[in-house]
Symmetry: C2
Subunit: 245 residues, 2 copies
Amino acid sequence: MKPIKALLFDVFGTLVDWRTSVAREVQAMAAHHGKTVDSLAFADAWRAQYQPSMEAIRTGREPFCPLDTLHRKNLDAILPQFALDGLDANARAELNLAWHRLDAWPDVPSGLARMRPSFRLAPCSNGNVSLMVDLARRNDLTWDAILGAEFARDYKPKAVVYLASAAAFDCAPAETMMVAAHTSDLIAAAALGLRTAFVARPDEYGAGGPGEARPRARVDVAVASLTELADCLANGGRGSLNLPD
Amino acid sequence: MKPIKALLFDVFGTLVDWRTSVAREVQAMAAHHGKTVDSLAFADAWRAQYQPSMEAIRTGREPFCPLDTLHRKNLDAILPQFALDGLDANARAELNLAWHRLDAWPDVPSGLARMRPSFRLAPCSNGNVSLMVDLARRNDLTWDAILGAEFARDYKPKAVVYLASAAAFDCAPAETMMVAAHTSDLIAAAALGLRTAFVARPDEYGAGGPGEARPRARVDVAVASLTELADCLANGGRGSLNLPD
């Protein structure tokens, strides 16, 4: 087995709690305009547009554009459902930056800091560079580079995103571990020869929601936090499968 | 005038002393193989191949490849001149990593650290991501992202390299300052609307060499170190033209 040299991280859901963070931003924007809104439902509706909006790019029907652009189109699409279509372009642009102000899960800053001496670290997210930069500054995350979709000019789970990210670190796929809270992301990475770590975020969509408490396919490591992942990797990759029930 | 939000840095010569660092690595490799070499002449010869080697990519005759690949071709080309063509592939691959082990000029780590709270910072170098990552770890440089040639898939001074780097930070060209020790780099950036800072590195090619002590064209700021650049930007961009004679 080749040693692992680099860790690539999914971000939305895996490192940051997008749902309550977006809801907070939506709530504040609505209040500022004298409106009320079911802010968690709004966050869920906005996120529901996420995967479909990337399909035109993945299939090559449209050229690559950064996720901020897709988020904005998706925002325009859902505002009428929440009776917020009165928001003007400035307010929409400001609300679109909600995705730049997401809070990390509590274990993330310290977990990444523990792994950084031993591994090259980068986000391998569908989020664009400036979004990743803002999340890193907000949550005190230190990356070696910002890789992922904008670097590869395509969207996960397309192979080029994982392969270009590993190659940018001069790492073979087998020297690279993809870390994600979504089995689908890990299946795509494993098919290319990357190692895989599942991090359980069962509350990604709220308690009782569809967040994955356990991986739905075979992975190399399954943990409940980045703290456990750091422990596990320090222990030579053996280890903790201390998953929540 | 728009406020400056991001600083993009040339690296070879501007932030790191490539010449004495490469010479040190060449010297060690030659000694390891029982050879002697004029190591500064070797560094100069290797670097002399740098600009010509990018031309086929800039003109579109060849697809983009990372600078490590060009450095390796250039190394193979010059080894016979120094009677080192007996080095095998492993030794050549190892020597090629000399460019990943360059030392920063002494003012760079502290200067960047001072500017980071106020500006998004990235290298905008022709060096590839892994090379930039290794230089950052070696010299304790904290970047927000690694931008430049590999991100843009072309080589400076092509416009796309500057423009894609500024855009990745969500910055207009006028909100972005290019920092370099070479007037040619700053002329290319200024033509696209970026602000420009010249940093004097007169000893880049050794004392009395062709390193630029003063800019050869109009720039927004001209300084002798990143310490002075940090002072100057903290002072609203006014400031120090305390250049060496």
